[in-house]
């Protein structure tokens, strides 16, 4: 059965994030508060996903290397996008990612107070990526680099849980149609199944967020439709978990979201017993 390989330190998997840092990301973000730019949406999305991935792998003794993570930025340049201690690195063990954020912000989150209400709790929020908006949108080139990164990983980890590539973009590629390289990525496979290519569309369009649609009918523009078509269908096991979590997914739902977050994908990954009460 596909997508059933154990994710462990002995058999780790990998994530490759491909993030749009082009000039068009300086435009307003449709899901923002009016002052936010799309580049803020991208930075927030990647930082939140990395945070969730690190926390997923954290144990009392430290962070277990269940995953290796690569981040490719595309804009004025295309290439590995980590900064600071991780600058220039391709695939980095998740423990190093967790221990090397560029900075850690103090934020507050609402938590249940045990008496039916909510109370503010201070939390430390790590920042790896700042908003960047500069240059063209060479998405095809960036996806090509992601493909090489995954191919290299698969040659060393042929039996791993299939790697996941997440492209965070406004979809307005300037180096031609990225569909064919997306097709090539989705055809890569480990012995446990095909690689998953998901797309997170950060758009200036206002309107309700869309999560994991099963058709491109009703998507707000041609960029959303193209990104939908480039996205892998959600595997059966992810659909089952998504349904249990109360998410609205259908047969044919794809790994595509519009002005929404994709943190749920990280929660879908099984590294052992996950309490039903742990959100």
């Amino acid at each position: 059965m596909a997508y059933s390989a154990e994710i462990s330190r002995g058999n780790p998997s990998c994530f490759v994030f491909v993030i749009d840092q082009s000039g068009s990301m300086g435009d307003p973000f449709g899901a923002g508060d009016g002052n936010q730019k799309k580049s803020d949406g991208v930075a927030d999305a990647i930082n939140r996903m990395l945070q969730n991935l690190v926390i997923k792998c954290a144990k009392e003794e430290g962070i277990r290397d269940y995953f290796h993570v690569g981040v490719i930025g595309y804009g004025a340049q295309v290439g590995p996008a980590f900064s600071g201690a991780l600058a220039g690195r391709q695939l980095v063990p998740i423990s190093e990612v967790g221990n090397s954020p560029a900075r850690v912000e103090q934020r507050t989150k609402k938590v249940p107070d045990g008496a039916g209400g909510l109370v503010d709790q201070p939390v430390r929020f790590p920042i790896w990526f700042e908003p960047i908006a500069n240059g063209g949108t060479p998405m095809g080139q960036a996806l090509g680099q992601a493909k090489s990164m995954v191919e290299n990983w698969l040659s060393q980890h042929p039996g791993c849980f299939p790697p996941i590539v997440i492209n965070i973009t406004d979809g307005e590629a300037t180096d031609g149609d990225p569909t064919s390289v997306a097709d090539e990525i989705r055809k890569l496979k480990s012995t446990d199944g095909e690689i998953l290519l998901f797309n997170l569309h950060v758009s200036s369009q206002r309107g309700a967020p869309i999560e994991y649609p099963s058709s491109d009918a009703g998507l707000p523009d041609k960029f959303a439709q193209q990104l939908f078509r480039m996205s892998s269908p959600l595997p059966e096991y992810m659909m089952n978990i998504a349904r249990r979590e109360g998410m609205n997914v259908n047969e044919g739902s794809r790994g595509f979201v519009f002005n929404a977050d994709m943190v749920a994908v990280i929660k879908f990954l099984d590294i052992g017993t996950r309490p039903s009460a742990l959100r």
């Binding site: 330190r9 945070q51 144990k59 221990n99 939390v123 790590p126 052992g272 017993t273 009460a277 742990l278």
Partner: protein, 246 residues
């Protein structure tokens, strides 16, 4: 009549003994036995699992467990976790609390002129299971078939808010016991294998009853074989076998 309890345990393949997050406790004097299984996806779960089994063995938890009784354990867990400053990810993880499956068994007997009444009572949360074997009759609690196991069970939390009001989380049951009965307390990987074997017409209790006796398979070998054949999930595994001997 004598009660004899023996524990068997192994960490997940690829993990060290120090990373084992199940726990067990035996109080033969008090006729109380428990196993617990700390959830992998939470942190400090092994500590929480240990706290639960010890508190049960020491009769600091009732049957059925009352949520109020967990409060001292939950405060203690907070103190243990925050003994040292934590990095951002460990702090965030710990703020969600630790989680564990749990099953506890108590045997009791009341003597009267006419007869001796022997009763067992058990309490459970999640997918750690008790099997009561008498002859070839078995009773499983709280689960009794392999299809009931998932990787997202309801578990007991070190965070009071995650336990809600406890309804549907803590279950209890009881029965009678006698000479030659055997009780198996097992964490989920072994429980799931046990029920699946039984559903296929096999008698897994014979293997477990004879473990580590002369001429029979060792626990280590049994688990290693089942894992490598894909018949048992690679997880921490614990068995507490309680034999009632004449």
């Amino acid at each position: 009549m004598e009660i004899y309890a023996k524990e068997f345990w192994l960490p997940k393949r690829g993990s060290s003994d120090a990373e084992y997050e199940d726990a067990f406790s035996i109080a033969e004097d008090g006729f109380r036995f428990a196993v617990a299984d700390g959830a992998t996806e939470a942190s400090f779960s092994g500590v929480w699992a240990k706290q639960l089994v010890r508190a049960f063995a020491n009769k600091r938890l009732s049957i059925p467990i009352v949520l109020e009784e967990l409060k001292p354990l939950q405060s203690r867990w907070q103190k243990i976790v925050h003994r040292h400053p934590l990095p951002w990810y460990a702090e965030e993880k710990a703020s969600s609390g630790a989680f564990a499956a749990f099953v506890g068994l108590e045997l009791s007997q009341e003597h009267s002129d006419a007869a001796t009444k022997r009763t067992w009572r058990a309490v459970a949360a999640g997918d750690s299971c008790l099997v009561h074997l008498r002859g070839d009759q078995i009773v499983g609690f709280p689960l009794a078939d392999s299809s009931s196991f998932s990787s997202r069970p309801n578990l007991l939390s070190s965070s009071p808010t995650s336990n809600g009001n406890g309804s549907g989380l803590l279950l209890s049951t009881s029965g009678s016991w006698g000479c030659e009965d055997v009780f198996f307390l097992m964490t989920d990987a072994l429980s799931c294998w046990f029920f699946r074997e039984r559903e296929q017409g096999n008698e897994p209790w014979n293997l477990l009853r004879d473990l580590d006796t002369a001429g029979h398979v060792s626990f280590e070998k049994l688990v290693a074989d089942l894992r490598s054949e894909g018949r048992m999930k690679n997880d921490d595994v614990t068995l507490l076998r309680v034999d009632v001997l004449a």
